[in-house]
Symmetry: C2
Subunit: 387 residues, 2 copies
């Protein structure tokens, strides 16, 4: 556990034991057995073991200079390695938001960066039209994107540089970052006898209780209820973890509190580009039993008359053909994307239909959008498609 201010906890009588691995949880005895053999009794246990970065099953991922990016320590290690070895060239494997943020970070310190990805376009959660815009933003900032390449192995060359073998040839770099997503770290929970959900993460109820009496789970190791899909999912988001932690804490303290679930809102920044997404894409909508239709509309993040830089804003909406219910949204733009996604997340939270959204009252002023916001335009265009 890394706590920046353990003293703060200590002041309130909470004891923080860092660098203290747990060997075993004995739920019958109500004890946690520490690595050194010490036993800690508990009334209530919270499993907050987080997620582990996915490491591909290929040769050479354990070479020095090959990193994953999961926690603060990873970031510190990467920075130290770049500084000590004088790295000039980085290879990133993966093209999700962590890979994107990493490429911006590396570019900011002058490290030449190539992104290697098995798919065609970055940011798979977003529509290919938006992935293409991300690609332009990467190119504009001199980050290379090498699509359709599988990672096959890593070795260290005679010259000391790392060599990455891919299905599209061999690349060289001074440092490699693997950004291939995460999986819930459920070792401890399983060992305690907590049942896992269908997603493979720890199953919890709305109070964050696991199947094991007296044991709660919160954060990236456990599931969350997706209000749009109507099913339990595994997401790995800091804000969700925070909320779950607070709800579990209230329950443990004897206060009634339920975690109301998620709609899957997410955002990130890559250079000057904002991306946001919420709810379901078509594939996940179909998986959840809906009959989705979608539309993409392009406009301006501010009133057209003020948009002298010709900044673009793209919005994709997904809705259920049968009911008109809004199911999801994606946005991209040089500004303005995340605000729209937050408004649409509130619409998803409330279970609104396109009809509800199409004439919704938003705070219009030319510096922030048109009199018809792209949210209205998208909802009206998609409404027409459904009828």
């Amino acid at each position: 556990m890394i706590a920046r201010t353990p003293e703060k906890f200590e002041e309130t009588g909470i004891r923080v034991r860092l660098h203290t691995p747990v060997d075993e949880i004995d739920t019958r005895a109500g004890e946690v057995r520490l690595a050194g053999g010490e036993r800690l009794p508990y009334d209530t246990l919270v499993v907050a073991t987080g997620a582990a970065a996915v490491t591909p099953a290929v040769e050479g991922v354990d070479h020095a200079g090959v990193f994953v990016l999961r926690n603060l320590r990873d970031a510190q290690d990467i920075k130290a390695y770049i500084r000590e070895k004088g790295c000039r060239k980085a290879l990133i494997v993966g093209a999700g938001f962590i890979a994107m943020e990493m490429s911006e970070g590396l570019a900011a310190i002058g490290v030449e960066t190539e992104i290697v990805y098995r798919g065609k376009l970055p940011v798979r959660r977003w529509d290919p039209e938006f992935g293409t815009m991300v690609l332009s933003e990467l190119e504009r900032h001199h980050v290379s994107f090498l699509p359709e390449r599988d990672l096959e192995g890593i070795e260290r060359g005679a010259d000391g540089r790392l060599r990455m073998h891919t299905s599209g040839g061999t690349l060289e770099g001074d440092i490699i970052v693997l950004a291939l997503g995460v999986r819930p770290d459920t070792n401890m929970a399983r060992q305690a006898g907590c049942a896992l959900g269908e997603t493979g993460a720890v199953g919890v109820d709305e109070h964050l209780r696991t199947s094991q009496e007296g044991v709660y789970a919160v954060g990236d190791c456990c599931e969350a209820f997706d209000r749009v899909a109507g099913r339990w999912v595994h997401v790995s988001m800091g804000d969700v973890a925070n909320k779950q932690g607070r709800i579990a804490g209230r329950n443990i303290a004897g206060m009634a509190a339920s975690f109301p679930g998620i709609v899957g809102a997410q955002s990130f920044k890559i250079f000057d580009l904002e991306l946001g997404a919420t709810g379901l894409d078509e594939e996940r909508a179909r998986g959840a039993g809906f009959d989705p239709a979608s539309t993409i509309v392009w406009g301006s993040p501010i009133a057209g008359s003020l948009n002298i830089e010709k900044k673009k804003l793209g919005l994709k909406l997904v809705a259920d053909t049968r009911t008109g219910r809004l199911l999801g949204a994606q946005a991209i733009g040089h500004g303005g994307a995340v605000g729209r996604i937050n408004a649409l997340s509130a619409c998803l939270w409330a279970g609104m239909t396109l009809e509800d959204v199409a004439f919704m009252d938003l705070a219009y002023a030319p510096p922030f959008g048109g009199a018809w916001d792209l949210v209205h335009i998208g909802a009206q265009v998609l409404q027409k498609k459904l009828t």
Copy 2:
């Protein structure tokens, strides 16, 4: 009527007659009588006469160099006057969002500006804490704000400059802008026998039909239903007018369509500061029969760790003590205010309670906010206050 592209209408067979005053509407004959005596028969008539700028009942408001700011023509006239007369000093009367935007526009072309206001702080719709922040922003950009002064009269001095007499002394300027709000222009509608609502604006139903058969009204001349207050109100907003126009048009074309009303969302920019508001403040909430409580929370528009410029974001929430229902919100900040107000407008649109808002899933990423967004913090703080 000012239409920038009358040709576009003509192409579709719509005849546009500019600079054509209407003398009388004869609803029995179904005719509009034009100033020259010509009669135009109609099946359906849309009254879209807008609002008129409020002019105070004092001496001298008709002097050359004294302007109101209502339409494009006013703006053009103001620009021409400043250019031709070489104006160096402007006086603005009023401190609403038009006055604020005007002061920024004048500062941008190097005209020294003083705002004269009868109240203590600018932007009355917003909490005094936020008004104080606006005041700092004005000062930072060298716009003077003279509070608690009533306008008593205007005259032209012997030197040709305008002299404004106020309850706090006499001021001099080259140009004066009166930004004292608007009132619905209902002359034509009343003359046609359309009933006015309690607000003094033209009464309409959800289809934008007035009390007079075959006569619709849309935009700033008519009322809109406030979904939060549960009553008809008069607002004067371009986006609301656009929506009403579309709904009226659909009805006239034989399509079923209802205007779902408003929640009173509004925003504007003053220099680098964003302001947004939606729903009711305490006073209007009480007027609508609620028992309001409120809180103000201050935070950061982006994650604190990234906020090296120490930008601030303030959020005020108003909710009903009895039901916990969210009633209104105000936000101010160097960025981030309008996005929050739009998300909260969607919450108002759906009739959410503080409990719904407090753990709502928003698109968290450090460039756009904290893991606990100020929206969550505000809702939780106000929830505690209510219990």
